[in-house]
């Protein structure tokens, strides 16, 4: 009998080497999201394999990068600064605007949302979530209701809304995602589940800049002025 952990860890070995493709990659992504975070044995093996992957780098001959590289990095450090600033509501609004660029779906047209009904979850998005889970061992998970959850990591300007078996809203309605602070709610984006009920939304936003996420259900194409009815009242 094949040990389930051995089977998982065999995939993890290929995963840390980035050598999986097709069904194996999809299965590894699923395991990394649903099994590994709660399995100490597989988590320990994943850490160990990642350490090996880091050590293997030393087999390559070291080489001196061009003298221009560090100044180039310094210039970018000066230009882009670094995250970690606690944002004011004004900055939060700016961040919401940036979400449009990142997910390419903020304020999406109804036709684009309709496309979702025939689309598959992009493999790159699933890979992105799996990488996020792997890179941030101290994940924060906040149930949002409707089988969806917020997945974030302290100090990281990125979070995911992920769920399986998320029900579709009634025809003509969409889910609307808000970042809610004490006296302010910022519209982040509208979304619908994929045909299999999966929701996977990546947001480039610092979770410390708002109190919680809220999902409401709204008429598709409506102006996102303020939050309407919670989509899943059982949350929080």
């Amino acid at each position: 009998m094949i040990d389930r952990h051995d089977e998982t860890q065999e995939l993890l070995a290929g995963y840390v080497l980035q050598s999986l493709s097709g069904e194996d990659a999809a299965e590894a992504d699923r395991l990394l999201t649903e099994h590994v975070p709660d399995c100490s044995e597989c988590r320990m093996m994943l850490d160990a394999f990642q350490a090996v992957a880091g050590e293997l780098a030393l087999e390559a001959e070291p080489a001196t990068p061009p003298d221009t590289l560090l100044p180039r990095i310094h210039r970018e450090m000066d230009t882009r600064g670094r995250p970690g600033i606690r944002w004011t509501p004004g900055r939060l609004v700016a961040a919401a605007a940036s979400v449009v660029l990142v997910v390419g779906a903020g304020g999406m047209a109804l036709s684009q949302l309709e496309d979702r009904k025939t689309a598959q979850v992009p493999a790159a998005d699933v890979q992105g979530l799996a990488d996020f889970v792997v890179q941030h061992p101290t994940l924060l998970r906040q149930p949002l209701g409707g089988n969806a959850q917020e997945i974030s990591a302290r100090g990281v300007q990125e979070l995911y809304v992920y769920g399986r078996g998320v029900p579709f809203p009634a025809p003509g309605l969409v889910y609307r995602l808000w970042a809610v602070s004490a006296h302010h709610a910022t519209h982040l984006r509208d979304f619908l589940p994929y045909p299999d009920g999966t929701v996977l939304v990546r947001l480039a936003i610092d979770p410390s800049t708002f109190d919680h996420l809220l999902v409401t259900v709204e008429p598709a194409g409506s102006e996102p002025s303020e939050p309407g009815d919670p989509a899943w009242p059982e949350a929080g």
Binding site: V16, L20, V52, L58, E59, A60, A63, T64
Partner: protein
């Protein structure tokens, strides 16, 4: 924990609070290994520079991504470099060109032997241990590991290239990783 790992930890702590001097020191320690690795994987200097640039910027912007509880900074950072190198190669669809170049890599322009020697004195011991651990693998296991890690090939591609079942590639990879883990933990 080795002294060098403890020093890295302290540098990372300082970097996390915005200390640029600590960033530069970590660059001095790892830029050579990172660039050598990125060049080995991508086969192109310009791509290797982009990989090292992106990896150090990621470190500066989200130092929290490294959790000391999960191992030395060195392995975290070089795994990050490797990850980005393979990603870049696949994204750029330059595997063919890279493979041709990687088969006969020329010395990198601007390489400074003095720098290389300084870097070696710091990481040299571990480098030797890693190479010994790799040399201790059965040839067929080492082959699939190197094709995946440095060749950036998927297990499916490796199976096709070697004419062996995919399951065999998986088994050999898993066995190699477990053996390396045991060998490197013993010496680490």
């Amino acid at each position: 924990m080795r002294d060098s790992d403890r020093e890295d930890l302290e540098l990372h702590r300082r970097l996390s609070s915005g200390d640029r001097g600590a960033f530069d020191e970590l660059y001095g320690r790892y830029a050579g290994s990172a660039y050598g690795l990125a060049y080995r994987v991508t086969g192109q200097q310009i791509l290797a520079q982009d990989v090292v640039h992106d990896a150090f910027m990621a470190l500066w912007r989200t130092p929290e991504a490294y959790d000391p509880a999960r191992g030395p900074f060195r392995t975290f950072f070089l795994a990050l470099v490797h990850h980005r190198a393979v990603d870049l190669v696949r994204r750029e669809s330059r595997l063919h060109a890279r493979s041709e170049r990687a088969a006969n890599l020329e010395p990198l322009v601007g390489e400074d032997p003095a720098d290389a020697i300084a870097e070696e004195s710091y990481l040299g011991v571990r480098r030797k241990e890693v190479r010994e651990a790799l040399a201790g693998l059965p040839p067929e296991q080492r082959q699939v590991l190197e094709m995946a890690y440095f060749g950036g090939k998927t297990q499916v591609q490796i199976a096709e290239e070697l004419g062996i079942p995919l399951g065999t590639v998986k088994t050999r990879t898993f066995a190699a990783m477990r053996k390396l883990r045991a060998a490197l933990e013993e010496t680490g």
